[in-house]
């Protein structure tokens, strides 16, 4: 399941950001009467169709996996939190319908803005899907909407409030962070693509990719800003709603005031070793707003419910890379304002390609940190992963099949996209 979701989120972020890039390119193309941007929109549409096709198949597999691999969890979801999942499929459907309109009806709209608007609905459907799925994840982190003590005592699901899933204590911040990081990571995938293509092309073709890079960079710049802000707010959210996870991420063994921010370090035989640096009071300030604010510690909880403490290392890496990206984007933005033409410098294109790869790694790392940090719970303080999983040996071939799907289909799809675009030279693209 982890492998499937790990790959699926890459397809998902592409599906979220790509319609935005396409629509932005189309609108700029119409407004400036610039055929380059229209070509960008048309060529990226080819990618969108294939990623949508594979993404839909992948989404179906994930839905089947949830059913077969986590039956007890799905029973709970079915009774308490199903509305988020159910509304999500309507959003997904909206995306599919307007994708059909957008892709296959370029020539049927007299007003080209009307055509672009159908693309806006595709983008809206895609992002709403992400919002509603994240609401289910927020329910897993901060479960509400039923009588939890009764459920823990008797296993009976009672006093259900089906609307509660839309507004759990962690919903708002989790949704904001997931949406902004999706645009951030997805945007960087296309920054990588355009930067790579710029290096490989010359003349008109290079200009085409240069303009594509402008669009992808603009969207990603905004997303990076929000991703950093919501990332910081997420930590405060964890402090309030999942103190165990917070303590593990910060490697706080005991509750304390004036808590320092530890950079690096690992847990060994009851002590913390290998700390690179300690920033006095910073953790307390970030979590509570004051230097003498109290932060939770792992000693307040039984060892059996501690998350794996590797999450501290993962968390540090994630935060470090996140700030690195913020700095990189800021520097490029300043260079653009100063008209230094940063995208014309080869070394920066190499850096952007590397950054694109690291951004995907960061996306995976962020997701893994959030999920590992909730261990051993699948629904925090309600259901353990071990209680929810289908442990039948018959499930192994099914899991193998899912892994095989991604290993074969994803690379093949990328190769096909490459071939399709190669067979359609930019200069011959109809606008």
């Amino acid at each position: 399941m982890g492998f499937s979701l790990g790959v699926h989120i890459i397809l998902a972020v592409i599906g979220i950001v790509l319609p935005v890039i396409i629509v932005a390119a189309e609108v700029v193309g119409i407004k400036r009467k610039d055929p380059y941007y229209t070509r960008i929109a048309k060529r990226l549409t080819t990618m969108l169709i294939i990623f949508f096709a594979v993404g839909t198949a992948s989404g179906t597999l994930v839905a089947l996996e949830l059913l077969f691999l986590w039956p007890k969890f799905m029973v709970l979801v079915g009774h308490v939190a199903i509305l988020s999942l159910y509304v999500e499929v309507f959003a997904f459907f909206l995306e599919a319908i307007f994708l059909g309109v957008y892709v296959y009806s370029w020539d049927k709209f007299k007003n080209r803005y009307a055509h672009a608007f159908t693309g806006v609905l595709v983008a809206l459907g895609a992002v709403l899907s992400a919002v509603f799925i994240t609401m289910l994840n927020a329910f897993m982190n901060t479960p509400v909407g039923f009588n939890i003590p009764e459920y823990l005592k008797t296993g009976i699901i009672a006093d259900v409030n089906p609307l509660a899933v839309f507004l759990t204590p962690s919903t708002l911040i989790e949704v904001a962070h997931v949406v902004s990081t999706s645009y951030f990571a997805g945007g960087f995938i296309f920054i990588l693509y355009f930067a790579y293509r710029m290096l490989k092309s010359t003349g008109d073709e290079r200009l085409h990719y240069r303009k594509g890079l402008n669009i992808a960079f603009s969207i990603t710049l905004i997303a990076t800003f929000f991703a950093v802000i919501t990332g910081i707010l997420s930590i405060s959210g964890l402090y309030s709603f999942q103190p165990e996870k917070y303590a593990a991420m910060e490697l706080d063994l005991v509750p304390q005031t004036h808590a320092p921010e530890l950079l690096g370090g690992f847990y060994s035989n009851g002590t913390i070793k290998g700390v690179i640096a300690k920033i006095p009071n910073l953790q307390s300030i970030l979590a509570t707003g004051t230097a003498n604010g109290s932060v939770p510690g792992l000693s307040s909880y039984p060892v059996s419910t501690w998350p794996p403490l590797i999450v501290h290392f993962m968390f540090d890496t994630m935060v470090g890379l996140g700030f690195g990206f913020g700095l990189l984007m800021l520097l490029i933005f300043i260079a653009l304002i100063l008209k230094m033409h940063p995208f014309d410098r080869k070394w920066l294109l190499y850096i952007l390609i590397l950054a694109g790869i690291v951004a995907v790694f960061l996306l995976e790392l962020g997701w893994a940190t959030a999920e590992i940090g909730r261990q051993p719970w699948i629904v925090y303080n309600v259901m353990l992963v071990s209680q929810a999983a289908n442990t039948s040996p018959g499930i192994i071939p099914i899991a193998m099949f899912f892994v095989a799907f991604y290993i074969v289909v994803i690379p093949f799809s990328v190769l096909i996209i490459k071939r399709l675009l190669r067979d359609r030279p930019i200069t011959q693209e109809k606008v």
Partner: protein, 315 residues
Amino acid sequence: MSFMFSINYFIFSIFLTLFGLEVGIAVTMLLEYDRYKDKLKVFLMPLWEITGTFAVFYLVNLEATVPSLLLLLGTIYVIPLLVAAVFFILRNAFLSYSEYMKNENSEKLYLHIYILSTVIIAFIAISVLNSAISGISVNASSYSINLAKMFINSFNILMFIGIALLAVFVASVVFKVHEYRWFTGVAAILGVVSIAIAMHAALPYMFSNAFGFGLLYLIGILIILAATIALHYYKNKYAGYLAVIWFILAINFFGFIQGNYLLGGTANLNNYIATGSAAFYVNMVTLIGGTILAVSLAFFIYISYIKKAPAITNG
């Protein structure tokens, strides 16, 4: 059936109608690739995303409306569902690959993989539906199934042949494949006969409501079918619309014969349908979301299949 379940079943009928059209296109392309490929691709390309999304939609819809039944059915049909998922991946992937392919040989190869996958998905889907309705091959108390029996029994084989023939008929009418209108008319009649024999063979397994109001309904849809065949024969422009309406109504007929029961009468849907406040909101979402989707779908059909491109496209 309850009102809300009827609404859900109606949505399901629309899904099966669209998928039926897709299967009809696939089979027609298989038979006459060179002659109809370009014409049918125009119809197929906007359609496949909708039918593909419907599959996920229905999975979650069942999770919302009958969560514990889904667990029962999911456990029983896990193997055929996964095999269908493999072909679903192939269908999606290869159709999308073929779309912009310039090399004709590659396009033909990819489209044939798509066609084969679609027909296999249809066969598995019909087999699962037939088995779920009739209970043939299923031991519900032990959550087990005899897969060979599920696929190979007279009810299933005849139903598949009948539905395939009717799908080809409807696709031919909708997409105006006039050259074969004699053949497709006969195919429709043979399809109905095949389904009638299948139903008769399975009567001991079925919880049948096909009498009383159901019988009137049956006569009604047979009259509409006859009218559709006649309009198609005379190349009337409304034949396609009537064919689609007929297909939806014909699929709904199974709602009548199925009544509240699945698995040959052993599973009463009323015992599985979600109740309480969750059910109320699920129904609200179905009604509101369903209305939005219906309007969007109508817009999609208008833009994709009815509206002509204006002479000047620059806005």
